[in-house]
């Protein structure tokens, strides 16, 4: 049994009388990418900041590589690389200066390769105030990985990034995982969590709503597969097919949600053939993490 890289046991955090995080527990195994999902105010950043040692927990136990962030903050710093959601650097500090400066405090050589990989190679002399939002986030990530920490904690790492940079960042994170780095990230982007994370936890109003692989979490929901069909006629409208729970219309497509995609598709094709209509398009999509997330948030609201 692998010793967890990150352990959160009955963790609780209050801000005055408001309980931001209420008795949550999860663990992150070494070398996995673990996504912390949730709407704004769910407690993701609070959880990460307590793991980073920036805030103190009011209850429960937190451990990063066996180290308590509250009791051994200096030891923790060598074990984690952090990209903060609201972090910043002095406006007159250049990219190269920031890398030299923080690397020196970590006692390692500056990592200009990461800057290059993250597309900041041409900006080494650019001062922080002149960087775009995306460049600032990439610099924060480069600084977080510069000392090769075993655990990387990233708070909304791809917020404000363009598509190409986001893809480059995903590649870098996967490479880091393959090299053995444990990555704990919070994100609003369900597609990102689904493609990147080995396991995810969904936080709602400070409580843990679900933990598991994206597939396990989506499977735990209603689990209806979405079938979108477009024909040159109306032969499918209003007909009841095996396993179909509901149907709707979206522009030229009929949308079916079914628990039995195989029999449903077979029956639809047979119906189209018998009616003499032409099949123009047919798409089958498995339930996504986003749909499960919306289900959970709807359950929470109701």
């Amino acid at each position: 049994m692998l010793e967890p890289a990150v352990q959160v046991i009955n963790f609780r955090k209050n801000y005055g009388s408001f309980t931001a995080v209420d008795q949550i527990s999860f663990k992150v195994l070494p070398g996995e990418i673990f996504g912390l999902l949730g709407p704004n105010g769910a407690g993701k950043t609070t959880t990460l900041e307590c793991l980073e040692g920036l805030r103190r927990a009011d209850g429960g136990e937190l451990r990063v590589m066996g180290v308590s962030p509250a009791r051994e903050p200096r030891r923790l710093l060598g074990l984690i690389g952090v990209q903060l959601q609201t972090g910043s650097l002095p406006g007159y500090c250049s990219v190269a200066e920031a890398m030299r400066f923080f690397s020196a405090y970590h006692g390692v050589a500056p990592d200009f390769v990461s800057l290059e990989r993250l597309g900041l190679g041409d900006n080494l002399k650019t001062q922080y105030h002149a960087l775009s939002t995306g460049q600032k986030r990439r610099l924060a990530l480069a600084l977080a990985v510069a000392h090769r920490p075993p655990v990387l904690i990233l708070d909304e790492p791809t917020a404000g990034l363009d598509v190409a940079t986001r893809a480059a960042l995903h590649r870098l994170l996967k490479e880091l995982r393959e090299a053995g780095t444990t990555i704990l990230l919070s994100t609003h982007d369900m597609a990102e969590a689904e493609t990147l994370a080995d396991r995810v936890a969904i936080l709602l109003k400070g409580r843990l709503a679900a933990v598991g692989t994206p597939r396990e979490i989506t499977a735990a929901g209603a689990g209806l597969t979405k079938i979108s069909v477009r024909t040159d006629g109306e032969c499918l409208a209003g007909i009841s097919f095996p396993g179909v729970a509901r149907q709707s219309r979206q522009e030229d497509y009929l949308i079916f949600f079914t628990a039995a995609p195989g029999p449903s598709v077979a029956a639809m094709i047979a119906q189209i053939d018998s009616a003499g209509d032409q099949l123009i398009d047919l798409r089958v999509e498995r339930p996504s993490l986003e749909e499960r997330f919306l289900e959970l948030t709807t359950e929470e609201v109701s």
């Binding site: 920036l54 710093l77 984690i80 910043s88 400066f101 405090y105 970590h106």
Partner: protein
Amino acid sequence: MKAFALHFSFEFAAGLRNRTLLMMNYLFPLGFYFLAGAMMTGINPLFREQLLPAMVIFAVLAGSILGLPAPLVEAREAGILRSYRINGVPAGSLLAIPALSTAIHLILAAAVITVTAPPVFKAPLPQNWPASILVFLLMLFAYSGLGSLIGVISGNSRLSILWSQLIYLPSILLSGMMVPAEMMPPAFIKIGHLLPASYAMQGFIGLGQGQPLLYEPGWALLVLLAGGFLAFALAQFLFTWDSQNSARRGHPLLAVLALLPYLLGALLLV
């Protein structure tokens, strides 16, 4: 040590790149010096006697009380201190390095004043250089401590400006810089001694220029030294990394204790 040196070199460069710091460390004090030197010595030729110490104190006030606190407050508000914290920058460095780099800038500004005052305004140089340098360094220490403390306790930039002005204006008006202490009402002299500038002025005149003083000038040095130590100790104690995090070790009003040596000086010496 390498990290400290890199951090220091960055802070020192920022003092030249950052227009606000450039203004407070050089442009404002030197501009005021040339203006005051031309005007005041024209109106009152006796002002030449105190031009050099008065303008050096003015430069230190501008750099340390108006210039030093703002970057610390802005860094906390913008989340820069959080970034420093998670990268292992110690709190002590965040107080010591800006104070040291400001001190170097102010030494350069004071050097410009010292070199130009005799030829341009016929101001006399100190008779006792080592004593004058000692007074200057202790004053720099005392005011850097107060500047750091203002940066630590101010929750936002507006508050830091308020606290700075509360130190800055009385220091200018009541320290004997603009009007000799012996010409001021006794109550004003006492109030002026609640701040380091009065002790620095007495130190410069008594120890540096050998003129008669209100009290033994060694006391002035002792008060400045104690005030500087107390201010830095309180700044370290009250330091917080994060404007959103309510956890702090003491109430910001504890900062008033930094004025204790000056209060004792005002009560016992003047």
